[in-house]
């Protein structure tokens, strides 16, 4: 359980944040400069909050009211910095040893061999950080933090400096850690697809405050996040389970409370929970179930409300058996269809609009 309620000032920037999470992965999501890293630094003990309280797993790390302020070396947080920050004068092995050697034997609950195996570090042990690729550096940094047997793992934009292939690789490693080590993870990111894929709970940070906070699917579907996610990225996140695979067409069918969704092959077993993000601009609406159409997903839905109009566009909030969905259509189309709250419609979602990056394993 992570409980944070702090006000942190850094130079002329100030952030106030209060939230609690017991999710396996909580994401701090927001634009760069929104205060996410400041918040993480306060948790790690690198920045001292003006006031407040930080508790991890029942252990008070900071409490201004009672004068508690543990130094970073006593907080037992594993902090993985954006640019890894490996010690350049040491080998990978010495980097990994550094924190582990400082951890009292009785506190070492994480098995070294297991961490090395999970992160694929065995082959890198004698290398120098300068000879590693960006992805390898991040893996070593994660391993170095894990070997201190931390109570929480803080990942600050761990993918920011990596290219696409390396990003996917590290994301997969983070999922393995979450499933294998049962260690709470704070994941800081400005990338919607990373947050959708990994996070169970999302804290949206904007302009020095928490703009929204809650379960990932709920928070990431909120229309008011539009300005944060970017005009063209707004959408809804649906929690679903893998129902079946169709090897012939390489498609996967997902089942959720509002119906079924066909998407390109997902690498998951039937029954596994997944999160799918459907962008509002990928959803069309029809009054009747269309025939002779290539769209694979036709989902019955009820219009809940019509959002603010901007220019030619209007955003429609829909409800599919309790599951929210959003559609971005033209004002003209909305008028021609006579859309109004309560109207029964069919939402059309192209299967190919849901790629691997918009789906994550919950």
């Amino acid at each position: 359980m992570l409980e944070v309620d702090v006000a942190v000032r850094r130079d002329d920037f100030r952030i106030e944040a209060a939230f609690a999470s017991d999710a396996p992965i909580v994401a701090f999501f927001g634009r760069s400069g929104s205060g996410k890293t400041t918040l993480v630094n306060a948790i790690a003990g690198i920045l001292k909050p003006e006031r407040g309280r930080i508790v991890i797993g029942g252990r008070v790390l900071f409490d201004s009211a009672n004068g508690v302020d543990l130094p970073p070396e006593h907080r037992r947080v594993g902090y993985v910095f954006q640019d890894a920050l490996l010690f350049p004068h040491m080998t990978v092995r010495a980097n990994l040893d550094y924190g582990e050697a400082l951890t009292p034997l009785a506190e070492r609950v994480i098995d070294r061999e297991r961490v090395l195996a999970l992160l694929g570090l065995q082959a890198l042990l004698e290398r120098r950080p300068t000879s590693l690729s960006g992805g390898e550096r991040q893996r070593v940094a994660i391993g170095r933090a894990l070997l201190t047997s931390p109570r929480v793992l803080l990942l600050d934009e761990p993918l920011a400096s990596l290219d696409g292939a390396r990003k996917a690789e590290i994301l997969a490693y983070i999922e393995i850690l979450r499933d294998e080590l049962r260690l709470p993870i704070v994941y800081v990111s400005h990338a919607l697809e990373e947050v959708t894929r990994l996070a169970d709970r999302v804290v949206v940070v904007s302009e020095g405050r928490v703009a929204a906070e809650g379960p990932a699917a709920e928070v990431l579907s909120r229309p008011e996040l539009g300005p944060l996610t970017g005009r063209f990225e707004g959408g809804a996140v649906i929690e679903a389970r893998v129902a079946s695979h169709d090897p012939r067409y390489e498609l996967t069918t997902l089942a959720f409370a509002g119906g079924q969704l066909v998407v390109p092959n997902l690498d998951a077993l039937p029954g596994e929970p997944v999160r799918v993000r459907i962008r509002a601009r990928d959803v069309s609406l029809a009054l009747e179930r269309p025939r002779g159409v290539s769209v694979q997903n036709v989902l019955p839905a009820t219009v809940r409300s019509l959002g603010a109009e901007f220019g030619a566009i209007v955003e429609v909030s829909l409800d599919m058996g309790g599951v929210p969905l959003r559609a971005r259509i033209t004002r003209k189309a909305a008028e021609e269809l006579g859309l109004a709250p309560g109207l029964q419609v069919h939402a059309l979602v192209k299967a190919v609009s849901i790629d691997r990056h918009s789906a994550g394993f919950a």
Binding site: E73, H74, F87, H89, Y98, G99
Partner: protein
């Protein structure tokens, strides 16, 4: 090399090495404070540290004589403890240490400033105390600067003349280091050959120190970037 010349060489090395050994830890501490801390009066502190660099060496020697002479405010306190600087080789080492101090501090400070402070923070989050971070991260990463500073200060100590002769005079076997011996040789008739031999010894020692520091810096770099 005659026995007398050998004695002069050993005395010079002794003065140089002792002055370096004594000033190095203090200089590293001062350099760290100047590089990483902010406090009121920092500019003044910085100026005082650099004073020996800009003052005439004779002035430094005279101030040392006033302070550390057997009648001086510090010298008279230390004398009962058996610590005497005036007219002893230890005084020559003190003068050399003070003259070389700013060079040492400057080099180490620059090296410490070039160490990414976030590496130190990373070490803290891994469980290291401030002191441990300093000795395991900051200092090793600043090592080439420490070596460079040590060479500069050692060279300065070997060449120290004005402050030494003012503070501890020119006593054969006690305070007559290489520069003082060369100066003495030039003051006697037919001393040129002696002065030349001593000068060649000086040059060889300096080249040796330069080569040693170069080798240490290279070895360090290879260690860090192989």
């Amino acid at each position: 090399m005659s026995g007398a010349e050998l004695g002069i060489l050993f005395l010079s090395l002794q003065v140089g090495l002792v002055s370096l050994a004594a000033s190095l830890p203090i200089a590293i501490g001062v350099a760290f404070v100047l590089a990483r801390k902010d406090f009121p009066g920092k500019t003044l502190f910085d100026a005082v540290v650099h004073l020996p660099l800009v003052l005439p060496p004779v002035v430094v020697g005279f101030v040392l004589l006033v302070l550390f002479g057997t009648q001086g405010p510090i010298g008279s306190l230390l004398e009962p403890l058996g610590i005497v600087f005036a007219f002893r080789w230890t005084g020559a080492a003190l003068a050399a240490a003070i003259m070389g101090f700013p060079l040492l501090v400057r080099a180490v400070r620059l090296a410490i400033e070039s160490v990414d402070p976030r590496l130190e923070l990373a070490a803290r989050t891994l469980g290291a105390s401030r002191t441990r971070v300093f000795f395991t991260v900051t200092l090793p990463l600043a090592a080439s600067g420490v070596v460079t500073g040590a060479l500069l200060a050692f060279a300065r100590a070997l060449g120290e003349f004005g402050a030494t002769i003012t503070f501890v005079s020119n006593i054969p076997g006690e305070t007559r280091t290489l520069p003082l011996a060369i100066y003495t040789a030039t003051q006697v008739p037919n001393g040129d050959a002696e002065a030349l031999r001593l000068s060649i010894i000086s040059i060889l020692v300096s080249l040796g120190a330069l080569a040693l520091s170069e080798w240490m810096v290279r070895r360090h770099k290879r260690g860090a970037h192989a």
